[in-house]
């Protein structure tokens, strides 16, 4: 298991509450209650997406530190470009991603879209795009496994 799949287990437990409300509204043929239950489920998905993203950021930071440490061993002439990154407090998240995954590849673009989604929610946009939280968690798990740190 990974932290992402642990979180999605937790999400599935909370999702049951919305599932129950959706089933009840559908059974009662109550369109308004049905829409409310789906809207509530989507808010829960947004919250879990942010939770997942915090773990993703942590994994990116840790992998980036490993990469810089691995690349900073050797004669100064060989490692000086990498040493610039050491102990820097503020490195853009996507710059780290582009050093861990080949820029332009699908995996890198997927992480960029997750980052964009996180920013839209975190900055309070009226954002209506939906989530498939279990699929997001699985992709985050797979993407982190694909980081190249050597």
């Amino acid at each position: 298991m990974s932290v992402f799949l642990d979180i999605v287990e937790q999400h599935s437990i909370t999702d049951v509450a919305f599932e129950v409300a959706i089933i009840a509204a559908y059974g009662a043929n109550d369109d308004a209650a049905f829409d409310r239950a789906f809207a509530a489920r989507e808010l829960n998905d947004q919250a879990y997406f942010l939770f997942l993203f915090t773990r993703l950021e942590g994994e990116i930071d840790a992998a980036f530190e490993r990469l810089v440490a691995n690349k900073s061993v050797g004669p100064w002439a060989d490692v000086r470009a990498w040493q610039v990154w050491r102990d820097r407090d503020r490195v853009d998240l996507m710059a780290k991603v582009e050093l861990l995954l080949e820029k332009g590849r699908r995996e890198c673009e997927e992480l960029r879209s997750f980052h964009k989604a996180r920013n839209l929610i975190a900055h309070g946009d009226q954002w209506k795009t939906k989530f498939a939280i279990p699929a997001v968690a699985q992709r985050m798990h797979d993407l982190v496994s694909a980081f190249v740190t050597v």
Partner: protein, 164 residues
């Protein structure tokens, strides 16, 4: 009968794919993506219909339901007209066992999502394939499926229907 539409089905449609600079979801023409999504939804219904008709002794049947309005953020931004997503139910006699309700095309983590509402659960189907690629990969999440998801197959559908 197949578990998913074959590779050729994608080639029978003349999609106009345009390239945009910017985030990934802008790379493909939203109008073409909507058209292709509606094709996939039709193919999903056909696939479920084939599956339930494969064994008449089960007594399952597929029926059209009220379509779901589709007007997503990118459609508004790129002036793509509102569309209707086809919905359907699976019944056993007159008893409704599952309502397949398309949710959205632009979904973070998926290439489209369809919610399923049954009398006891509300799982979702998500297409985990990349846009404009085949085969479509419908994965079932939630309900009694595992949190990690399971490929949507005939046996998975029949299990879901028998749980009702």
């Amino acid at each position: 009968m197949t578990d998913a539409p074959d590779d050729e089905s994608i080639h029978s449609h003349k999609f106009v794919v345009q390239r945009f600079d910017g985030p990934e979801e802008f790379h493909l023409d939203p109008r073409a993506r909507v058209d292709e999504w509606l094709v996939r939804l039709d193919q999903l219904r056909q696939m479920v219909e084939e599956w339930v008709q494969a064994d008449a002794s089960e007594g399952f049947s597929v029926h059209p339901a009220r379509p779901v309005k589709m007007l997503e953020e990118l459609m508004i931004k790129f002036h793509v007209p509102e569309a209707e997503m086809p919905a359907f139910t699976v019944r056993s006699g007159s008893r409704e066992l599952a309502f397949f309700r398309p949710n959205a095309l632009w979904v973070v983590g998926a290439n489209g999502r369809v919610d399923i509402i049954t009398p006891t659960s509300a799982p979702m189907l998500v297409d985990t394939s990349q846009p404009f690629t085949r085969p479509v990969r419908w994965v079932l999440y939630g309900g009694r499926a595992t949190a990690q998801g399971a490929m949507f197959t005939r046996s998975r559908l029949v299990d879901l229907l028998h749980e009702q």
